[in-house]
């Protein structure tokens, strides 16, 4: 009997001892985080950082806080995880002139900053860099790269297009403007780190370059658009998600007899392309897909070309200097395991974020398009342009060419 009591006591003692060894304090707790905005790098005098909205995003859930007078945004009850952090606000032309000492005529400017996949693991302060960018006249307004499925449920990619938008108050001549498509290999040829190491962030790798014909002016009114497509035909006969592109402004003429060339639509000029035996724009339907527009007087075809980082053979991409780029946007692949931000090709100065379609492999008629910020005095829409596609773009299956949200 005594033995039984002794064993019972011993067992209980061991259980208490083991339980006592457990430290329940190492469980995850909510934390408070401060995001401190920094002055834009390009400013010669400080701008006000007070009252700016800072957002942190995790899994589609957005938490926003307004900064105090010192530019600090205090977030409470944050669960430690990976977050995308961003902020943006517009300033007037006067504020731009004052902050930069630059007297160029601009309609205003944007100050924006973002950091992707930032680990918040405990209490602390996160420094958020910001950039200043003057409002651009011509922006990339819309890209339809997802493709669709035809009436027989077979893949259809002939209706892809890129749309440029003039959000300035002036009529703009887009003739001679270049459209570049960024490198999009499944094994990335140059990561942003590689570009930083090799070229100090001064270039973007392009796989295809086209030019709007430079021979005669091509004027775009305020709020006007330029639709550039691979085949300027009515694609709605193949799928309801497709568009009638017969009124497209430019068509990339196919030379292989696989796309219908509309003789009524002016041709884009082909400057460079990496592929053998194709002439049309290769907008990868699942992503990654990046577009830049730029102007230069250089002979673009003679720009330096590079092999994949560290290699001396294979495909070669054109190095486009960042200083020539007017606008850029990037869409990443939305894979089943999530979006891999390491596959970004454009640095923060061109596009600090990314957009994406909902489908993992495309073929669902989704279009990424720029959100509408406001209307100008003459009534044309001003689109959101914060140099961050995560903020600037929406995705839709129903949006049509030359249309934007109200």
């Amino acid at each position: 009997m005594n033995k039984k009591i002794f064993h019972t006591i011993l067992t209980c003692q061991m259980a208490f001892t083991l339980t006592g060894c457990c430290n329940f304090d190492d469980a995850t707790h909510e934390v408070s985080v401060i995001v401190q905005l920094q002055q834009p790098e390009d400013c010669v005098s400080d701008v006000s950082l007070e009252g700016k909205t800072v957002s942190i995003i995790n899994g589609g859930q957005v938490t926003s806080v307004v900064t105090d007078a010192s530019g600090k945004a205090l977030f409470h009850n944050i669960i430690p995880d990976m977050y995308d952090i961003s902020t943006s606000w517009s300033i007037s032309a006067d504020e731009y002139h004052s902050a930069t000492n630059n007297q160029d005529a601009v309609s205003g400017a944007m100050i924006a900053g973002s950091v992707n996949s930032c680990l918040i693991s405990g209490e602390g302060t996160i420094q958020l860099k910001t950039n200043l960018s003057a409002n651009r006249d011509i922006v990339i307004g819309k890209v339809y790269y997802a493709g669709s499925r035809d009436k027989n449920n077979r893949n259809y990619l002939a209706g892809k297009y890129i749309e440029l938008y003039n959000q300035s108050d002036d009529t703009i001549d887009v003739s001679g403007m270049y459209i570049g498509l960024t490198e999009a290999e499944s094994t990335i040829a140059y990561t942003l780190d590689n570009i930083h190491t090799a070229f100090a962030d001064s270039v973007v790798l392009l796989k295809q370059i086209y030019r709007i014909p430079a021979g005669s002016p091509y004027m775009v009114a305020p709020g006007g658009t330029v639709v550039i497509c691979n085949s300027a035909i009515d694609h709605t006969t193949n799928d309801d998600y497709e568009n009638d592109l017969t009124d497209a402004d430019f068509e990339v003429k196919d030379v292989t007899g696989k796309y219908q060339n509309n003789p009524s639509t002016p041709a884009m000029e082909m400057i460079y392309q990496i592929y053998n035996g194709t002439s049309v724009m290769n907008l990868v339907q699942s992503g990654p897909m990046g577009v830049v527009i730029f102007r230069t007087d250089d002979d673009v075809a003679s720009w330096q070309k590079v092999y994949p980082y560290g290699k001396t053979a294979g495909n070669q991409w054109v190095l486009c200097p960042v200083r020539h780029i007017l606008d850029g946007m990037e869409a990443l692949r939305n894979s089943s395991s999530g979006i891999d931000v390491k596959t970004k090709r454009l640095n923060d100065k061109i596009d600090a974020g990314y957009t994406y379609i909902n489908a993992t492999s495309g073929w669902n008629g989704e279009t990424v398009y720029r959100k509408t910020m406001k209307r100008a005095a003459d009534g044309h829409k001003i689109l959101v342009d914060t140099n961050n596609s995560s903020n600037d773009f929406n995705v839709s299956q129903s949006i049509k060419p030359r249309e934007y949200d109200e």
Binding site: G147, D150, K151, N152, N153, R154, N155, Y156, L157, A158, G159, S231, A232, I233, D234, H235, T237, N238, T246, D254, V255, T256, G257, K258, Y259, Q260, N261, N262, P263, S264, M270, I271, Y272, Q273, I274, Y275, N276, G277, T278, S279, A301, K305, G310, K311, T312, A313, N315, Q316
Partner: protein, 942 residues
């Protein structure tokens, strides 16, 4: 190449001469004790040879008809007649081993002492698990000097094989797994990679008739990955009595092969009704067979077999149905003339389509093969001095293959030209703007006629014995199928350059003549030492007296020497050759289509115009094609273990320097492009083209589609087979087999490539044209594979329980491969006039202009390519090494009295399918996928 061939011929002539000298010397030595008796007298002298008459009964005292009797090591054969009698004439005096085999019976092995004419009676016992001797594994054949594997009926039953493909798993070095009946399976011996020449060069001989694939023809461009060879699924396992697999150097009697030979013997003889049913989740197989004695009019054997399989029982998107009917009739026309006549029918249907539960959108593929084969074999015991046994074979096989593919032709780009032109020219073509459902059909009707006469005779002289075989063969292969066509030619299944119709019946037939001679020489030096030499020659001539005639002499030499009573050394060297089939000799025409006009006004449908230029090149025939030849070398030893086991160790090398592959050869043509300035456009009217006014003129380089001997392969390795013998207290025998295998393949084809698009202006790259072709050194790139595995089979046989169980464990210790691509500097270029130019090292800093001319300095006024930019460098040349994996299976066979029995099996019985990495990636990949399966077989003897 010619020098090499000449050297090879001289080399073989020397070997033959040396052998003849040695034979002569041996004869001389043998004659010394009785120098007055010359060779002729010795053979003629009946006093030295005797008549051995056997009578074989079964255990019910019924005479066994068609029993196969062999006197070892004499190597002479006889078959029992309707009375169960077999007669050997001219048997030299001595003690010989009689081996009698019969379907469904235990092999009878007895020593007989011949010192005069003798008559002996034997009784054979029915095969049963109640008998001590049960063999459920493959055996290394003892009598041959070459590496032969023998797989008997009990092993096939225990394996629960459904087709010949399953049986191949028992060969040393083969990876264990499930055979998917819904996928074609060809024979790959001693190679670690599926090689089309190796598969095409594997010969499967069923009841004396080689299954010919020479008449098969494919449509479109040659593909090195397309299925070639004999589809082993078509041969049902239940009617097989035994299979002999010769991985080494086969007898000269067999030819038209490179890699190996499988000899299948169907069941022949009187048997009870035998019904079998095999069921697994993936397949069902039922068969019924009987060997019927027709009183005094011979024996009739028939077998009916049906198999049905699904690739995945959960998702029935693939199926395979097979029907085999075989009828054989054996009859002795006279006491000396035995005949064997067989008629076989086979129908196999492969189907792939939508799951029955899914929406049927009309996409499917169905491949139906029906074959009829007729064979007649005769054996006449002539008992002449140089014609002891004359045998003949006549075979005719007709195959009807219909391959129907129906699917939606995708039209991702919105403009799909329907090009049907068969001649060079500019054609206004219709087009589709959306995908459409299309059906393409390939009707293939290969036929084969096979005739063979073989004479066998023996010469005995003192301690030497020589069994000779000489023979002649004639093969005729043809194909009178309609070939490839579309159900609706306006909606082609393959609307591209590979989709043109081709009538196979336009292709000439193939004649092949073979002659062979073989000497099986045996010198019994003393009680211990014995020398066996097999020397053979085979001459093959295909399409003699034509432009594509090929011929080859294939000598072969196997030798074995019994060093001690327990140790035998053996080695061999030989050349096998495979004639190219119709598909290789007569490749399809090459078609190249380029757009000339793409005018699609969206507001004027009548004016829309699409014009294509079609260029047709008809290579007609591959004139320089030679037979693919494999030189086989092997050496090894067989040792008997004191307690009853044995060890076999073998080194081999098979080298095929001239397998079949693409032979790059270029032709050029001009193709024009017409823009709107060259079009006559009238609104609402069809647009016409002013063909004399092109806006662009491209010089296009295209390959001719020629086939050549450009594929090289080397296989080498070490095979081992150890039978540790039975541990009697636990009724268990341990077998360990294994192989280290090495395969290297490379191409000797002209290595050229177009100039990379990055180096060209868009006016070249987007039009997919190259100003010149760059030549690189060939033969530097290769694919190399290495593997070492062991298979341990533990067989427990308990006669009292009439049960045998086996556990097999296989470990792949080493699995390595390397797809090596060498860094290469250009060594030349081919200009637009198809003239080749060399690039020397001092030219690397020069330029080649778009005009195809070399310039030391960058030329003005034209785009040019820096020669050093044409260098190809590769950095990802890391071999892949996979981690050790293992697999285990178990099988059990239990007899239920005399009524029949039951077998069950589980493959990958521990369900070991691990996720493992390899040395170059951290990505986890699942191994042993699809190896798990289980099934049962019920067999009844009525």
């Amino acid at each position: 190449m010619n020098l090499s061939a000449s050297y090879n011929q001289r080399y073989w002539l020397r070997i033959c001469f040396a052998f003849l000298l040695s034979t002569g010397a041996t004869s001389g030595m043998a004659q010394k004790p009785n120098a007055n008796i010359n060779h002729r007298n010795t053979v003629a002298k009946k006093g030295n040879t005797f008549r051995v008459t056997l009578h074989i009964d079964d255990d019910t005292n019924q005479p066994l008809i068609l029993g196969r009797c062999e006197l070892q090591p004499l190597g002479v054969f006889a078959a029992t007649n309707m009375n169960g009698d077999a007669v050997f004439t001219d048997v030299p005096a001595g003690e010989w081993t009689l081996k009698v085999t019969y379907v469904g019976m235990e092999p009878l092995v007895k020593k007989i002492n011949v010192n005069g004419d003798i008559v002996q009676k034997f009784v054979m016992a029915q095969s049963s698990l109640a008998i001590n001797e049960v063999i459920v594994t493959a055996q290394q054949k003892e009598s041959g000097a070459s590496s032969n594997t023998f797989i008997g009926r009990q092993a096939i039953d225990h394996l629960q094989a459904t087709s010949l493909a399953d049986v191949m798993q028992l060969i040393p070095g083969q990876v264990m797994g499930n055979t998917d009946l819904t996928s074609k399976t060809n024979l790959q011996l001693r190679t670690l990679v599926n090689n089309n020449t190796s598969a095409f060069g594997s010969s499967v001989v069923v009841d004396g008739i080689p299954m010919s694939n020479n008449g098969n023809v494919s449509q479109g461009a040659f593909s090195s990955t397309a299925f070639t060879g004999t589809d082993l699924r078509q041969i049902g396992a239940d009617n097989i009595d035994n299979v002999e697999i010769i991985r080494g150097i086969p007898s000269a009697e067999y030819g038209d092969l490179t890699s190996g030979l499988v000899v299948v013997h169907s069941k022949a003889g009187v048997t009870p009704w035998q019904a079998k049913a095999k069921i697994t989740p993936e397949l069902q197989n039922y068969s019924l067979g009987k060997g019927l004695r027709m009183k005094d009019y011979g024996v009739l054997n028939f077998n009916v077999d049906y198999a049905k399989a699904w690739g995945d029982p959960r998702q029935k998107t693939r199926s395979f149905n097979r029907y085999n009917v075989s009828v054989g009739y054996d009859y002795d026309l006279t006491k000396k003339w035995h005949t064997d006549t067989k008629v076989k029918f086979m129908k196999a249907v492969d189907w792939t389509g939508n799951d029955p539960d899914a929406i049927d959108d009309g996409t499917y593929s169905r491949n139906s093969t029906t074959s009829w084969s007729f064979s007649h074999r005769g054996r006449i015991s002539a008992n002449k001095r140089f014609m002891q046994t004359l045998s003949y074979t006549a075979g005719l096989s007709l195959t009807y293959t219909d391959n129907v593919n129906s699917s939606y032709v995708s039209n991702t780009t919105g403009l799909l030209p329907i090009i049907t032109a068969m001649e060079t020219g500019y054609y206004s073509v219709p087009w589709m703007t959306t995908s459409y459902l299309a059906t393409g059909i390939t009707e293939c009707r290969p036929g084969n006629l096979f005739l063979k006469v073989n004479d066998a005779f023996s010469i005995y002289k003192n301690k030497t014995r020589q069994n000779f075989k000489v023979g002649l063969e004639y093969h005729y292969d043809w194909n009178n199928g309609r070939g490839y066509y579309n159900e609706n030619e306006s909606l082609p299944y393959k609307p591209n350059s590979d989709g043109r119709p081709r009538a196979f019946s336009d292709i000439p037939g193939l004649h092949q003549i073979n002659a062979y001679a073989e000497d099986n020489f045996c010198w019994e030096i003393n009680k211990t030492n014995e020398l066996k030499i097999n020397l053979g020659f085979r001459y093959t001539s295909m399409q003699p007296w034509s432009e594509v005639s090929t011929s080859s002499l294939s000598p072969r030499l196997n030798a074995s020497f019994s060093l001690t009573k327990w140790l035998t050394l053996r080695s061999g060297i030989g050349v096998n050759s495979k004639t190219p089939g119709l598909d290789y000799i007569y490749p399809d025409k090459k078609y190249s289509d380029r757009v000339a006009v793409n005018y699609m006004p969206q507001d004027d449908a009548a004016a829309q115009l699409l014009v294509y230029h079609t260029q047709v090149y008809d290579v007609k025939m591959s004139k320089d094609l030679k037979n693919a030849t494999t030189t086989k070398i092997e050496g090894g030893l067989d040792a008997k273990l004191p307690w009853g086991g044995n060890v076999s160790l073998l080194f081999y090398q098979d080298k095929t320097p001239n397998g079949f592959g693409n032979a790059t050869e270029y032709t050029t043509y001009y193709s024009n492009v017409y823009d709107e300035s060259a079009l006559n456009i009238v609104a609402g009217q069809p647009t016409t083209v002013n063909y004399d006014n092109p806006s662009r003129r491209d010089l296009v380089v295209m390959t001719t589609g020629k086939i050549g001997n450009t594929n090289s392969t080397v296989n080498r390795g070490i095979e081992m087979d150890i039978n540790f013998g039975e541990i009697k207290p636990i009724y268990t025998t341990f077998f360990l087999s294994g192989a280290y295998q090495y395969t290297k393949t490379w191409s000797t084809d002209l290595n050229t490539s177009s100039v990379r698009s990055a180096l060209l202006p868009a006016s070249y790259s987007s039009y997919k044209i190259t100003p010149f072709k760059v030549i690189y050194p060939s033969g530097l790139d290769y694919n190399m594979y290495k593997r070492f595995l062991n298979t341990l089979r533990i067989v427990t046989h308990i006669p009292r329980l009439k049960m045998v169980a086996s556990f097999t464990t296989q470990a792949i210790w080493y699995n390595w491969n390397h797809n090596y691509v060498a860094d290469k500097n250009p060594i030349g270029w081919i200009d637009a006039n198809l003239v080749s130019h060399d690039i020397t090292s001092d030219m690397m800093n020069g330029y080649i202009g778009m005009d195809g001319i070399y310039y030391a300095n960058k030329p003005e006024g034209q785009y040019s390519v820096l020669v050093s930019d044409l260098t190809n460098k590769y950095t990802d040349n890391i071999p892949t090494k996979n981690p050790v994996t293992w697999n285990m299976s178990m099988r059990l066979t239990k007899e239920l009295g005399k009524l029949g029995g039951l077998s069950v099996y589980v493959n990958n019985c521990l369900y070991y399918e691990p996720y493992l990495t390899n040395n170059i990636t951290t990505t986890l990949t699942q191994r042993n996928v699809g190896t798990f399966s289980f099934g049962a077989e019920l067999f009844l003897n009525l």
